[in-house]
Symmetry: C2
Subunit: 511 residues, 2 copies
């Protein structure tokens, strides 16, 4: 058992922090609630970005960049919006440090305070109102990758930090129908990404009014279940109707020659997805990475006792690498700059995924441990005895299983297939967990009992209502995670009011 990681059963919150620390994914920064994303963690974000960006572009979107700072007056133009974000604003009030007798002090006060964007509907709305004149200018399908700030009280690395990285899509359309199509299309993109790339099974649904985005007509979301039975919102897609178009005067001359307001949407996912990935798959030994976002798909650990054994092992590893990445990449990697005794080879240059060989001067056991805690899907052990058998030992991080692989088995296709198998196994495992931890409740008492005993999702008939939801949240810390798209097609009694309802919802405690 890993000594530096608290088991999940003893202290789940500490386990999560220990996994992050052991894998060197992130640190808290000197500024309260902000995080430093270390290279091992940022590489996961790069993999997420690359995959999602491709999906966005395939659905017709382009990227752009809007300013970090938003005039306070902009934020207040949409009433619900400012209400939702006012308490979390980071506010710039001065534009200079000036020398005073007591040292440097902020000088040059600004005429109007500027808010560091908590989200960019307002400043993007202001630009869209300049860019959109006619129906010919629509749709506008723009995404932005950037940092945002929401100064929340309780923070947790990746899941909730004052500053975080995300993408925010902002689109403007000619009709309400097109905006609704776009909102659902992007929700589907998120759901497919979560399952196909992160191996996280998600439930698609709509938020209740109590939980929707400030300023949205309807918020849709994907919800996942973590190993402690708490739900995590992994992505949201908002139909904003004409709310922001009216607040920011996004008007166009329609096909009917009438001036009308555009229909807008916005949708986002953030570095929180890294937290979701860690919490869904990792175990008491540390990080377990889904293969399609693993920066290193395999770590090769050489075992040798003499210079001669080292040479034998090295020659064999070169053969394995030739099979897995090709002779050209082997030569290119050798030409590349490499101080650090752990040269890396591109397994797939389009995704940036690599294989690493650990030649550091350390014990093989320590190296195994190193790569295990970093969640690398496969480790290959190569010692003189393995070389004599023309084979190496394959260790799977997911289930810690071992297998002997001969040199002629090893090929690019073989490794890809191994990675696909692991992906599928991880998704299946998470699906089974989610199914087992989703329970039905026919009454409020039943729900309270389930939440107290198991946490997890509780599925029940319910009539969404802000006041009642607030009361339930106070009672059992649970909120309506979503109204799932999949409904039974029957009616039942609302667990709280007893009224007949045709709507089932998912309750859960949530991050």
């Amino acid at each position: 058992m890993a000594k530096n990681i608290k088991p999940r059963s003893q202290d789940y919150a500490q386990w999560y922090l220990d996994v992050i620390k052991a894998a060197q994914l992130a640190d808290y920064s000197p500024v309260r609630g902000c995080m430093v994303i270390r290279p091992e963690g940022y590489a996961i974000w790069e993999a997420i970005q690359r995959d999602l960006d491709r999906r966005f572009k395939e659905t017709g979107h382009v990227n752009a960049y809007f300013p970090l700072l938003i005039p306070q007056s902009f934020l207040t133009k949409e009433a619900e919006h400012v209400e939702g974000f006012a308490m979390e604003c980071a506010i710039v009030t001065h534009s200079k440090l000036e020398k005073t007798a007591d040292g440097l002090k902020p000088g040059n006060p600004l005429e109007e305070p500027l808010i560091i964007r908590p989200t960019s509907e307002t400043v993007i709305g202001a630009m869209y109102s300049q860019w959109v004149q006619s129906y010919r200018d629509l749709p506008l399908l723009i995404n932005q990758w950037c940092n945002v700030m929401r100064w929340e009280m309780r923070t947790r690395l990746f899941l909730r930090t004052a500053e975080f990285l995300w993408q925010e899509g902002h689109t403007a359309h000619e009709t309400a129908e097109e905006a609704q199509e776009e909102t659902l299309r992007m929700l589907d993109v998120y759901a497919a990404f979560a399952e196909d790339t992160l191996a996280i099974p998600v439930i698609k649904g709509a938020k209740t009014d109590a939980e929707k985005f400030p300023g949205a007509v309807t918020t849709y979301c994907i919800e996942a279940l973590m190993q402690d039975g708490k739900a995590l919102q992994c992505g949201t897609s908002h139909n904003l109707g004409q709310n922001f178009a009216k607040a920011f005067d996004i008007k166009f001359l329609g096909r009917d020659q009438q001036l009308q307001y555009a229909w807008t949407t916005s949708w986002g996912v953030s570095t929180r997805l890294i937290g979701a990935t860690i919490m869904t798959h990792s175990d008491d030994e540390g990080l377990v990475l889904p293969p399609r976002v693993a920066p290193f798909v395999a770590a090769i650990v050489p075992i040798f006792k003499s210079e001669e054994e080292r040479n034998t092992v090295r020659a064999f590893i070169d053969k394995v690498l030739t099979s897995l990445v090709g002779a050209d990449e082997l030569a290119a990697a050798a030409r590349r700059f490499g101080y650090n005794e752990t040269p890396t080879y591109f397994f797939d240059s389009t995704t940036g995924q690599r294989i690493v060989v650990d030649w550091r001067d350390a014990r093989p056991g320590d190296k195994q441990y190193h790569w295990e805690q970093r969640g690398v899907p496969f480790r290959f052990e190569v010692g003189p005895r393995d070389v004599a058998n023309n084979a190496f030992v394959l260790k799977r991080r997911l289930d810690r299983s071992k297998a002997v692989v001969t040199l002629d088995q090893a090929s690019r296709e073989w490794l890809r297939q191994q990675l696909d198998e692991v992906h599928k196994a991880m998704l299946d495992k998470a699906r089974q967990f989610q199914a087992a931890e989703t329970r039905e409740a026919a009454s409020y008492d039943e729900m309270k009992k389930i939440l107290a005993e198991h946490a997890g999702f509780v599925r029940c008939f319910f009539k969404p209502d802000k006041t009642i939801e607030a009361r339930i949240k106070e009672d059992c810390k649970a909120t309506v995670r979503c109204v799932p798209f999949e409904q039974p097609g029957t009616t039942g009694k609302c667990i709280f009011t007893g009224e007949e309802s045709n709507t089932q919802v998912l309750f859960a405690q949530a991050y």
Copy 2:
């Protein structure tokens, strides 16, 4: 002549803004001095990022993310550093908007003001001091892609804006020699990128003390010459010595068992490179993009008068596309979402470069004009007469030349070769311009005369000196752009003092 673009000869500054506006690259934002990078401009930044990021990774670097906000006390730890940035700081002083009788006001003042990073040496230094314990932890080779803020008085889109996007590399090393090697290695990476990718010829050299980065021991730079004869600094690489290691206590136990300070470097390029690209290559008709960062490498303009002609032209364009992007991509593009009547096809999926077909309901002349002003390297015109000849008309943006290309000539390799030729022609043209606009001066009077008549680079013997440089700047608005690595190997008289000097420098007026 383009009606919406002022000729360079009449008003160079206005020409630059007109080119940006016509190509829809960027807009000023509602916040003074900040810019909105529009999709057409951001796509150039994405191409720059992709190419540079590959170069950084090939030289052993990894990416990470450090916080946006820096405690004021951090900034003041390195004396020269705070001196250099104090006047341009954007300062966060409050963390909440509170309701008052006069509406919302900043509430909850922070204990310590926070600075939006103007650059990240300080916060990264604080983290490195935690991460580095032993020589085994070195070198640290980390890069960050992010936004920074420097509130300057006079702004100009891309060249100087309050907020801009950049990358900043920050490395820590065991020895002074390694830090120096790294500093020069990254300067070489920048120079190779500027020439091989942006087709911008640059001069490599060192800054004088008067012009170096606040806190650096030595700053190296690449300097380019714009079409108005003004120089533009395109990238800098700083050897920071032990200055920041001492300020932030980055210490390690060396091979000799002694505790010692690390040696650090930093290096950066920014969205300013987009400005450099525009100013180096564009003409009075608008933007001219170097082919390797052009989001669209070719725009196909169909010409037809009837539905029948449209069908004929369409079938032929499909054949051309099959040759240029392959049948698989043609099918994939057809499956992709496309509202906007200008479907795009990946010419190279690893670089994201595309070919666009303009089926919009507009006159062919307007379409030509549209793509010309956006700087697309090639346009293909396809009308019924061309189809009859089994050919299309190729128009090169660079020199507005025309050629007839038959269908069997058109292939992926053919287009790549055409693009390489254009790249080479653009680089050659810019090199010739730079050579012609670099003049030697043997005396201060001669330099003043050259700068008054031509602008451009003035090469001369000089003994760098802060006071003298300040005086020259006042006299003729020129600064020492760099002490070029290429030196004549002889001595000569300093143009200002007349003293014997073995150093030639480049003076110029600069952006």
